[in-house]
């Protein structure tokens, strides 16, 4: 952890990874995005409560450092596949919150033109191939995208985000095996938030860590504190380097926690209030990151306030954009089932 004071040390010495790797500007942008994720989730939740969004949603509040840290070394050309808890990945990869809100509101201006909603949020233009309603569904797809990257000799890497629940799906094991066998530029990122819906790791998984399973597929398995941005980014950085160098895949296990329930129907009967409070009070990823930034003199309280205010405005504008956008017409119900031929 960061105990050192930057000003007393030669530049860069003993600082956590991101403070050596990225400019102050990038670091502030990362904080901005983490706030954007959190406030987006809160805005979506509120809109849901007010009946503006229907269906269900899976919020990633508490997991912001995980999404952001993984995406820090990526370019727009790199791709990700995401999960049912995918809003944070979408924002971290570069999507606009206005078009995400519009999608949740079911509008034609949404990323999926109102056909996908929360569970299929995607922004192909920034490399997000989509959230997925099927646990583990995106993992083999990411391997296929990495096969394309390798065949086309592009420099692209592909990230497959999934949760701890997915590590018991057959698709996970089949995909990791093929990716390692063929040395594909793909990084498997398990965001272990402790529970697959209500079932804890201890009750569902025969090994203590998801990363332990990397050994079975002859790839590095790395465990990071998913609530410490620098740790996540450092692991991602090394995995991306390996992938781009043709050295094959890495499995990163990012240990984190979701503050909200699994979905909107969750009554939180499988975990204690004390457990939730402990994570929220003592291990919040944004608070920890802010404290570091202030400690290293990169930002001050006023700077943080400015970010919060800017984000709040972005969120409010996004919701207004969504509200004002048109709904799809019923006559276009069957559009996009097949590719329209000109």
């Amino acid at each position: 952890m960061a105990q050192a004071k930057t000003k007393d040390l030669p530049a860069g010495a003993n600082l956590p990874f991101i403070y050596r790797e990225y400019s102050a500007e990038r670091l502030k942008q990362a904080l901005h995005k983490m706030y954007l994720i959190r406030q987006f989730e809160e805005g979506a939740e509120e809109s849901y409560m007010r009946g503006l969004i229907h269906g269900t949603m899976h919020l990633s509040i508490g997991q912001e450092a995980s999404a952001m840290g993984i995406c820090m070394p990526l370019t727009n050309d790199d791709q990700i596949t995401s999960t049912h808890r995918g809003h944070g990945h979408c924002i971290a990869k570069g999507a606009e919150v206005s078009k995400m809100f519009a999608e949740f509101f079911g509008k034609t201006t949404g990323y999926c033109r109102g056909r996908g909603g929360s569970m299929h949020i995607a922004d192909v233009s920034t490399g997000n191939l989509g959230a997925n309603g099927i646990v583990g569904g995106g993992i083999p797809i990411a391997v296929g995208a990495a096969l394309t990257a390798k065949r086309l000799k592009s420099d692209r890497v592909v990230i497959s985000f999934f949760g701890d629940g997915a590590n018991n799906e057959g698709a996970f094991h089949e995909a990791l095996n093929m990716a390692s066998l063929w040395k594909l530029p793909v990084i498997f990122v398990c965001e272990n938030n402790g529970y697959g819906m209500s079932t804890s790791m201890a009750r569902s998984t025969a090994v203590p860590n998801v990363a332990d399973r990397a050994a079975a597929y002859a790839m590095p398995g790395v465990i990071v504190d998913g609530n410490v941005l620098s740790e996540v980014a450092e692991a991602s950085h090394e995995a991306v380097r390996r992938a781009r160098a043709g050295e094959g895949p890495t499995l990163i296990e990012s240990k984190t926690y979701r503050y909200r329930g699994h979905s909107k129907s969750d009554r939180n009967r499988y975990r204690t209030k004390e457990e939730i409070d402990d994570w929220m009070t003592n291990r919040d990823p944004i608070v920890r990151y802010e404290n570091e930034l202030m400690e290293f003199g990169i930002i001050d309280q006023a700077g943080i306030e400015a970010i919060r205010e800017a984000v709040a405005k972005e969120i409010a504008d996004g919701i207004e954009f969504a509200k004002a956008s048109p709904s799809p017409e019923i006559r276009n119900l069957e559009r996009y089932v097949y590719t329209e031929t000109v």
């Binding site: 596949t81 990323y111 191939l129 990411a142 995208a145 057959g170 995909a175 590719t339």
Partner: protein, 332 residues
């Protein structure tokens, strides 16, 4: 320029189509179990690995779900995979990727992507391989919007439809009856396509329409010859595509003959012929019917091992003859 026409087997025609696709389109590659040096369980890929290399004719582990998902991911990001299932029955292991991902990805993403993947399914009974290697599951996949499902019956069609499938921007599922692999027929050299979604009238007739799929087309044609000698003039429609179905050709044929017999190998209940029957019952052709529609489909049983039982499971020529005779003279 006229293309020279030779006799090729159905399997050779598929292989030729894949070779042309591999030669002419850098994005095309093949994936499947034992399709490399082994040449495929039915020797359809043959020596393609020697001609195009292991990077483009990829042997996968025995991982149908993962393999199908890799093919979907490659298709979405710009390649043109042709994925071979060793047996169509193994589609059951990959239904998640086929039904939830390949079929729906374009729709779920509001048209932001296409999924140009081709999946090949060796299907059908008659090989003594029993219940888990003999099924005809085309109706399962035909039920899914977003997929295109075809059942070419001749070497000519399978080559042209496979090339049409590779050129198609959407997922195309090809069901190839295993007993057809060794059957021969005229196949033009070089590139040509046969359209997906268009039925073909294999034999014109006045008295009765038989709508058949895959190997049943050949059985229907054989029956039609016998019936001709008895003075029953049968029209045989080769449906060729299960989804999207060529309603117009079937409706026009039934309006002409006023009698419809559907013959298909998949389980009769909720099968392809059930859809054809319902489609006709809802159409303007209904008023032209002179007798109730008759369906001959697979028995309501898993495919048994014993050869006599196995034959009895799916429609055979004598079954078609009996049904056609009864239908030709019946009335409502």
């Amino acid at each position: 320029m006229d293309q020279a026409v030779r006799e090729l087997s159905y399997a050779q025609a598929i292989q030729e189509a894949m070779a042309i696709a591999l030669e002419t389109d850098e994005r095309v590659f093949l994936m499947g179990e034992d399709i490399g040096v082994y040449g495929g369980a039915f020797q359809v890929t043959g020596d393609l690995v020697e001609r195009f290399g292991a990077d483009r004719v990829i042997d996968t582990p025995i991982s149908e779900l993962g393999g199908a998902g890799v093919a979907v991911g490659a298709a979405v990001t710009g390649l043109r995979p042709i994925f071979e299932f060793q047996f169509s029955d193994f589609a059951t292991l990959a239904m998640e990727q086929i039904v939830n991902q390949a079929a729906k990805m374009r729709y779920m993403l509001g048209g932001a992507v296409s999924v140009p993947v081709v999946m090949r399914f060796p299907a059908g009974s008659g090989t003594g391989a029993a219940a888990q290697h003999s099924q005809s599951l085309e109706a399962w996949l035909g039920h899914v919007p977003g997929l295109k499902v075809i059942q070419p019956a001749t070497p000519h069609d399978v080559k042209g439809m496979l090339l049409a499938a590779v050129a198609d921007p959407d997922p195309v599922m090809i069901f190839e009856h295993k007993l057809l692999y060794k059957t021969k027929g005229p196949v033009p050299e070089g590139y040509y396509t046969v359209p997906i979604g268009k039925a073909e009238i294999r034999r014109e007739g006045r008295d009765l329409t038989i709508v058949a799929t895959s190997i049943m087309v050949h059985k229907a044609l054989e029956a039609a010859k016998t019936l001709e000698a008895e003075g029953i003039d049968v029209e045989v429609v080769d449906l060729r595509t299960v989804r999207p179905m060529d309603k117009e050709t079937v409706i026009e044929s039934v309006k002409k003959t006023s009698r419809l017999l559907c013959v298909y190998e998949g389980v009769k209940t909720l099968g392809v012929g059930a859809e054809v029957s319902a489609m006709i019952a809802e159409s303007e052709a209904f008023d032209f019917l002179d007798a109730p529609i008759v369906r001959l489909g697979g028995a309501e049983t898993p495919i048994p091992y014993n050869p006599e039982l196995e034959k009895a499971t799916v429609p055979q020529v004598p079954d078609i003859l009996a049904a056609a005779r009864s239908l030709a003279t019946g009335s409502r």
